[in-house]
Symmetry: C2
Subunit: 408 residues, 2 copies
Amino acid sequence: MIRIKDSTMDNFTYCAPTRILFGKGTIPAIAPHISAHGVQRLLLVFGGGSARRNGVYDALTAALRAAGILWDEFWGVKPNPSLEQVNAGIAKARVFDAQGVLAVGGGSVIDCGKAIAAGVHLDDYWTFVETRKPAERALPVFAVLTLSGTSSEMNDKAVITNEAEAKKWSIGGQCLAPKVTAIDPQVQATLPWSLTASSGIDAMTHVMENYFRGRPATAGNSFFREETQLQINEALLRSIVLSLNALQKDSASYDARANLAWAACWGLNGMSVAGLSSGDWTSHALEHALSGLFPHIPHGAGLAVLFPSWMEEVYTFAPDIFARFARNVWGISCNPADPASVLEAADKGVTATRAAFSGWGAPDNLSHWGVREEHIPVMVQNAYSYRALGRLVPLNEEQVTRIYKRVL
Amino acid sequence: MIRIKDSTMDNFTYCAPTRILFGKGTIPAIAPHISAHGVQRLLLVFGGGSARRNGVYDALTAALRAAGILWDEFWGVKPNPSLEQVNAGIAKARVFDAQGVLAVGGGSVIDCGKAIAAGVHLDDYWTFVETRKPAERALPVFAVLTLSGTSSEMNDKAVITNEAEAKKWSIGGQCLAPKVTAIDPQVQATLPWSLTASSGIDAMTHVMENYFRGRPATAGNSFFREETQLQINEALLRSIVLSLNALQKDSASYDARANLAWAACWGLNGMSVAGLSSGDWTSHALEHALSGLFPHIPHGAGLAVLFPSWMEEVYTFAPDIFARFARNVWGISCNPADPASVLEAADKGVTATRAAFSGWGAPDNLSHWGVREEHIPVMVQNAYSYRALGRLVPLNEEQVTRIYKRVL
């Protein structure tokens, strides 16, 4: 094999096999795909009931009926879906002898659907989660997306909260990737702004968790080691920002809904991390520890508070990529040859991020959710219980404590 | 279903299920994937022999041997692979009773491998191409990429030239998408610059064929109907430009090879066209007519000549998107509120594209390949034989003639 001079971009594997049916009126089109996968008995998994109000339930079940598919229904999946719900869903799928799962909702519902699909083949769901192994078998998963943000519609992961142990842990595995997902942005037109904003911020943080691992190919160079992926990630971030700004003015704009949905889909489907050394993911670990203890905190809202605090903690360790972020996402210029200018731009990028999140009405502190200083040590311990924190910069408990405390 | 105000982005289906093994030393890793797909007898398809010189052949066959896979070899696929070669490959695959095809090369070799994989199930390959139907069955296809540009490594299409009829036509079909592709950018380190440049330009034109269908969401708005996709496409274009500039100085830069390879992969795998109304693809039709008649013309080099001429022919019909392209790819600013400024920027964007292609050493005229004025009517007829030309702007024969003549 040929010797090459500089070898710096990380190796990676990319595979996102989900077929996406995107656009107006695409929900009924999923039914023939379900049949084509040989599924005749289907468990439908829903959230709190919005699918009945926005017409999705009627459109979908008419199409399933026309395709000759039998189904049972599991309703009531809540944000931060719980192990109890997963176990109840598994029991229902077994009784019905389901051959596939169709999740209708946002990331929480789809995650719960995936966990059920894997769980029917397991003795005990949580025991398996604790092994941290990828799932090898699952019923085929399908999805109809009604809230964009998590990428669960196009990835092979599910996050479930064990409330008794205050642990919000994920499982993965190729078999969990939805075979087909229908995304009709029209059904998101009536979502409340706060949910739109926090879900959009969630999608941004998925991209950002990976983005900040980017490094200049050579010091002072404008060409980065993972140039293509950084460019794509910036593209996703800019489009989410533009879409959210447009939706804040007009929540029914189809184009803004569609562009937000399409960008969010790519935030966490394996794309945004390509070559970027598994990303950092400290903020997500901290949010999981937070909402593990306070399950009523929306995932995206928790991240909106924690992510800028993480940025503030670490940007001095990797000013080049933070300055690039400031320039290419927020239009903050700097002189790349002057370290002081780079550092200043990096700092301004953190401020701009916090300002954008606040401008969209996201919370900027933990106290209003009832989090108090005494909870922080518990969350710090919990955050470390899954793995060591800080891939970009290894973080000790003192630093992690500061990230929470800064936004208390 | 909810009524929404402005509904403009096109519906689309996206599916690119190929598993990509990307990075240094990933070629042997494909062997266990081939076994996992149940393939024990494999037809290897190669180009002219570079795989023997750059170590790919040895690394790959050692891995196949270790995985217990038997193989036969089909060598000599040329650029613009011919129907004759496809038929010879089909015969070889049948005699060997191949259960799968592994193409080792650039887009031509992979296209030929796909055609062979589909062809073993067909009575006659070209008769099927003429039906313009998608292929329904094919042997599983695998690929080891040694020249980035076409995206064939991650898409479900193959273009084959029927030299007797001077037709360069494609087939498609889900079953043609490679199951797994290994991309080790190291093996491209010794490619001649002209081939690197023309292949990179080829990848750019794939993105650009789709890009120019973008439209402002509302007139004078900076937010476009397909904002996410345009942002991503600009990201791909910028990264290819940066990578080519870096490779022109240092053809062995791993980072530049890797970023070019990763960006090119996304040029034509179904991503760059999402929401963009099937793209335009006039320049490709014109290039196919050109290299159908002159099979020695490299595809990317033909496009480097024709694409700017197409741009010049049509930019006045869609100045907003051409001005956006000029700004976001070449840094040419304009005042979006002033139509004259928009038109001027659009024009400068065409000039900048031509200048970049020339700066990379690409040809800027057809004459030096022996094309003369008398060939133009034949090429025009051939270009129209597949379909009407001009989705962005419908083009008549006079306009198409002008596109060829401008760069004669």
